[in-house]
Symmetry: C2
Subunit: 207 residues, 2 copies
C-alpha cells in the first residue's frame, strides 16, 4: 500500500505510509497509529520490525533514520483508503520515493523466507479458503507459482492447515464444490525446529 | 560483553557497547566501528539487526532511540578488552543499565530460535571442534543442556556438519581421541525450508 506524494521532495512518486515518531510512543505504537489514522488500516494480522534504514543521504535535508515494519492484512481486508493511496503489486511498483523500493524488496524477501519455514500464511489468508485461493496467495507473496497439491500436502503434514468441514459455493460454471480449509493457529511459529533443540517443557522459543 | 559505567546516569551498572550514530555512517557501520574502537571486537562471525528499542523513557534526559544488533564471535576469540569491560554469562548478568537487560534477553531469544532452524552454530564455533565442545556451545546459547548424540545426528543429517578427518589431542587423562568436525558453510541459511516453496533455480531466499 503506497500513497502518491503531492509535493516535493519526490512529488508524484509513491511512498510507504509512515511518519515521525511521537514524543509519547514507541516505534510500533507509532506505525500502528499512523496506519489507522492515515490509511484506515486497523486490523493487522501480523506486524514485525523489518530493519532500520539509515544511510546518511537516504532522504534530502536533515537526516532521517527509518524503522521499517512488515505489516500484513488478510486478503479479504478492504480498508477505506484516501484518494491518493492505492494497493500495488510488489512486482509492478510505480515510481517510488527515497529508498522505499529497497524497503519493499526487503519486506518481500522477509515474507517469502518466513512463508518457507513458519505458518505465516495465516496472516494473508481469510478465515476460511479453498486450496486454490491459498495457492494464489502464496504464489503472489513468493513471486512464483507453487503447486496447489504440494502446498496442501506440506502445510497439512506439518499440522498447519485443517479442513473446516465446509465447502465453497459452486460458481456459475458448476463443477465439484471445493473443500474449505483454515489455519490451525493465528500466531507465528517455526514449523519444524530441530526437535533435539526444543526447550524443556514450560519454556518456549519464538522468532 | 558489557562495560561498567563509571559515571551517572546508572553509574556502576553494566552497558552494552555502542554509541551515537555518526553523520557519515549507517547503523551497521556504526556498531562495527564502535565495537572495533571501543572493545577491540573486529571479527564478527555474524551480525544482524535485532530490533529498535524506542520506549519514550528508556534513557533519562533527551530521547534516545537504539537500534540493537545481535553480534556473534567464535568461542575461541579473545579480544583485548579495556579494563572496564568483561564477558558475562547471559544467565548471570551483573546489574545492567537502562533497558539493556531486555535487549540482551531479546538477543538471546533470537539466537536460540535461529539455532533451532538455521546453521547459525557456525558463528559460535571455532574452525574445528569436537562434538562435546559443540554441545557445550549450544547448551550455553540455548540455556539448557542438549544431548551430544542427538545434536551430532540432527546437524549431520541436515548436511550442516562434516568431519574434518582429524582428531583432538588426547588430554592428560588419556582415553580415545575425539573426532573433529566443522560446519560446512559460514553463511546463515534456513536448514529445512518447505521444499514446495523453494524458488525456481537461480533465485534464492535468505532470512
Amino acid at each position: 500500500m503506497l500513497w502518491e506524494r503531492a509535493r516535493e521532495p519526490h512529488a508524484h512518486r509513491w511512498s510507504l505510509p509512515g511518519g515521525g515518531l511521537g514524543a509519547d510512543e514507541d516505534v510500533e505504537a507509532s506505525i500502528r497509529r499512523q496506519l489507522a489514522e492515515k490509511v484506515d488500516v486497523r486490523q493487522l494480522s501480523h506486524v514485525e520490525q523489518l530493519a532500520v534504514f539509515s544511510a546518511p543521504t537516504r532522504v534530502p535535508g536533515p537526516r532521517v533514520v527509518a524503522t521499517a515494519f512488515l505489516g500484513l492484512v488478510p486478503s479479504d481486508t478492504d480498508p477505506v483508503v484516501p484518494s491518493d493511496t492505492a494497493w500495488h503489486p510488489v512486482d509492478a511498483l510505480p515510481p517510488t520515493a527515497f529508498d522505499h523500493e529497497a524497503i519493499i524488496k526487503r519486506a518481500r524477501h522477509r515474507l517469502a523466507a518466513k512463508l518457507s519455514y513458519t505458518n505465516l500464511g495465516f496472516a494473508l489468508a481469510p478465515p476460511s479458503f479453498t486450496i486454490s485461493a491459498l495457492r494464489s496467495l502464496y504464489s503472489a507473496a513468493l513471486g512464483y507459482k507453487v503447486s496447489a497439491t504440494n502446498l496442501q500436502r506440506v502445510l497439512s503434514r506439518r499440522g498447519l492447515l485443517e479442513p473446516t468441514g465446509g465447502v465453497a459455493p459452486v460458481g456459475p460454471s458448476g463443477g465439484r464444490p471445493a473443500a474449505l480449509f483454515r489455519f490451525v493457529s493465528g500466531e507465528m511459529r517455526v514449523t519444524d525446529p530441530f526437535a533435539v533443540l526444543r526447550p524443556p517443557a514450560g519454556r518456549s522459543l519464538g522468532m
